[in-house]
Amino acid sequence: MSNSRQSDVVPPPPHQRILLVLIIVISRMLAQDGGVQFIKTKEAVVTKIWSPPCHGYEPFVRACSVSYYLFMLFVAWTPGGKNESKASSRTNQVLVIQTIGPFLYAHHVTGSITGYRTVKRLGIPDSNIILMLADDVSCNARNKFPATVYSNNRRSLDLYGENIEVDYRGYEVTVENFLRLLTGRVDPSVPRSKRLLTDERSNIFVYMTGHGGAEFLKFQDNEEISAFDIADAFEQMWQKKRYHEIFFMIDTCQANTMYSKFYSPNILATGSSEIGESSYSYVNDADIGVAVIDRYTHLVLSFLEGINKTSQATMQELRQFDAYDFNHMRSHAGIRTDLFARNPSEVLLTDFFGGVTQTEVVDLTTELSLTSDIASVSETNGTRMQPSSVRSFDHQWEKVERQAHLQAWQGWVGSMALCIMLVIGYLSFN
């Protein structure tokens, strides 16, 4: 990162500095990544230490220091709320974005996939979920248990499983693709499964995880998106009526800075750590060699494990839970409600996380007869069909039939006329 960011980072006290240097040096020596760079100059070492902690560090170090979360955005499907009209076809869309590639950051992926599973369990179909994973962790050569992704070190449940639909994978996870996805300015060749097909009644849950810092989020290893970019993208979405409400959740270092720049209405935002804080991973798997999930995501999803589609649990209850408790998280998770019209205690979790559709049972019996007086509809609820439209259809059909006879008749008359014309012509003219 550039030196300009150093001002955002508070250097630790001297004894911690030495300890950190030792830890970093030793872990880098032990690193499987081979990305060890023994910085020669003192300044460089200092730079490495003091640069924002959202760079590639070994899991050992990460367990001691920072975990980077970029939360994918989940767009949630909300059931017809109390204030909604009966005919609400509110779509809940979920965007899950994990932005860093190497196997190192498997915990991001795990967090993303766990979130993906949770959201699917609560009723959101794959057609409403866009999952962006920057690396294929399950099939990575470093994964000792190929084709699997576990979220705890007991390896009790394979999250990858049989039924996962990753929409953007690998190098397709870029800032440009993400912004185009949000704003809808996609190339005509982009398939529907990779588009954000929302309208002004859609609730979107956006979950991002990866490596971030003060007002930026890192994508792959070569680009970053800033909080301003996301804020502008959301504003574009608001102008183009592409969402009704957004729930923005981000799990990275200094995550709360990412939502500090939003200025569009109806956005409820939450992050895992304040400015200057890092977000931590939860547990390591010694066999795989990396951390398997992040704290904030784990705690949020643990809470969500306890609810089902019919739950009336609100956002306020989420806030009060462990996910927002410093003792569990080791960072101050935040929430931003000033842009949101409703009180968090009124917002159901299933408004965003769940995909409950509303059905209405109507008692309607209809008799259809194929005569002009077709509308003998008997019903208890519902509208009465207009018979006049049916009658005019009958008339039109008769007209077509009459025209058909006319044409055929014209055929014979026409051909006879032609023959007579030609015969007369040939006989009379020289």
Binding site: A404, Q407, G411, S415, A417, G425, Y426, F429, N430
Partner: protein, 400 residues
């Protein structure tokens, strides 16, 4: 006469053999304007009360649609019989044109001319494929026959009927008018300028009247004016780029829309622009001018099939005085053989097996165009050099 009957019999045998089944819907033999399938489609639509010109499929003239939906229903045996009889009529007319030109009857020569028409593969194959270009060719030869006999009314009525289905044949009006005025006798050897251009406007007026009557009839039968856009409009604007052996379709598939109108104008001009010069150059022998205009149009028309050069080549048989003055008859024949071999071969490679692409077929059509062009240019040269007689040894004929 017996030869003629034998030839017709052979054609009937061919028509009722299994060969036509292989030739049906071959886009080298038929075009969107002449296809039997589209004729069937149009007849079906008309019979069931739909406007056949509402879609962009049917491009046949209303006269053909109406006749074939009522009097002559499109059943294959009947059509094969009719097509063979129409070809026989055309062959007989061609030999009558020659006898009108020659003033002496020569049965052997007439049989030869009939054979050149009835056995010309370029004409036999489209006829077996039931392409309506057979009818167009027959009407063309009938027009020339009536004109050679000095019957302006009949000739112009036939020409008007022909123009209904083949728009470019209307360009024959100028040479046909001269032919009506001055007769079909061979005057190639004595070119003299025409002195009297007086009666030609009368022929134009008569032709226009016949055209108006037929157009009125077509409009009344169809109920609207859509047929103009779908039949004549298709000839001029080429909306349907089905491959054929002509020069237009490939060019227009790859052209940018920006230039489309310009090139439509250019290609149409190539047809129109030859009429007046050829007729004026051969005003002393208008039948030859008719022949050359047919050749010009045959190369450059928008939906060319094999029947159009076929007519041109068969027509050469009535100008024997010209044969010894042809400069390169052998290369022309070889070119034609070459093209006739390549066209079905590349068509199969492209559309049958899929190992080739349209460029192959287009190259073969270019060869075909070169062959036709060679025949046309050679005929022009031969017609011009007839007056100079045999060139003495060590002498050559040049044009200053």
């Amino acid at each position: 006469m017996t030869t003629f009957a034998a030839l017709v019999f052979v054609r009937l045998l061919l028509a009722f053999s299994p060969i036509p089944d292989f030739l049906a819907d071959n886009h080298q033999l038929t075009s969107p304007l002449t296809s039997f399938t589209r004729l069937n489609e149009g007849v079906f639509l008309l019979k069931n009360g739909f406007d056949p010109y509402a879609g962009e499929l049917v491009r046949h003239s209303p006269a053909q649609l109406v006749i074939f939906s009522t009097i002559l229903p499109p059943s294959k045996p009947l059509f094969h019989l009719i097509w063979t009889l129409v070809d026989a009529l055309a062959a007989w007319s061609l030999s009558s044109v020659w006898s009108a030109r020659n003033k002496q009857r020569n049965a052997r020569r007439e049989a030869l001319i009939q054979a050149s028409y009835l056995l010309n593969p370029y004409l036999v194959a489209p006829s077996l494929a039931l392409s309506t270009s057979t009818l167009d060719n027959a009407l063309c030869i009938l027009t020339i026959y009536f004109a050679s006999k000095g019957r302006p009314g009949k000739a112009l009525l036939t020409l008007a009927l022909l123009t209904q289905s083949s728009l470019y044949s209307g360009l024959l009006l100028f040479p046909i008018s001269l032919l009506l005025r001055y007769g079909p006798e061979s005057r190639l050897a004595n070119p003299k300028a025409v002195s009297d251009w007086s009666k030609l406007l009368r022929y134009l007026a008569q032709y226009a009247a016949f055209m108006a009557a037929l157009a009125l009839w077509s409009t009344l039968v169809m109920g609207n004016l859509r047929w103009i856009k779908e039949t004549w409009g298709a000839t001029l604007t080429v909306p349907d780029l089905t491959p054929n052996v002509g020069l237009w379709w490939y060019f227009f598939t790859e052209m940018f829309d920006h230039f489309r109108n310009f090139f439509l104008m250019v290609f149409t001009a190539l047809n129109i622009i030859g009429v007046v010069p050829l007729t004026l150059k051969f005003q002393h022998d208008p039948l030859y001018a008719v022949y050359l205009v047919i050749g010009n149009v045959a190369i450059f028309k928008s939906y060319q099939t094999m029947a159009d050069p076929g007519l041109f080549l068969s027509f050469l048989s009535i100008f024997p005085e010209v044969w010894s003055y042809l400069r390169h008859p052998l290369p022309t024949v070889m070119w034609h053989l070459y093209a006739a071999t390549l066209l079905p071969l590349f068509n199969n490679l492209w559309l049958g097996q899929g190992t080739g692409n349209s460029n192959f077929f287009y190259a073969a059509t270019l060869v075909f165009g070169v062959a036709n062009g060679a025949a046309f240019l050679d005929s022009v040269w031969a017609g011009l050099t007839v007056p100079y007689g045999e060139i003495k040894q060590d002498h050559s004929l040049i044009q200053i």
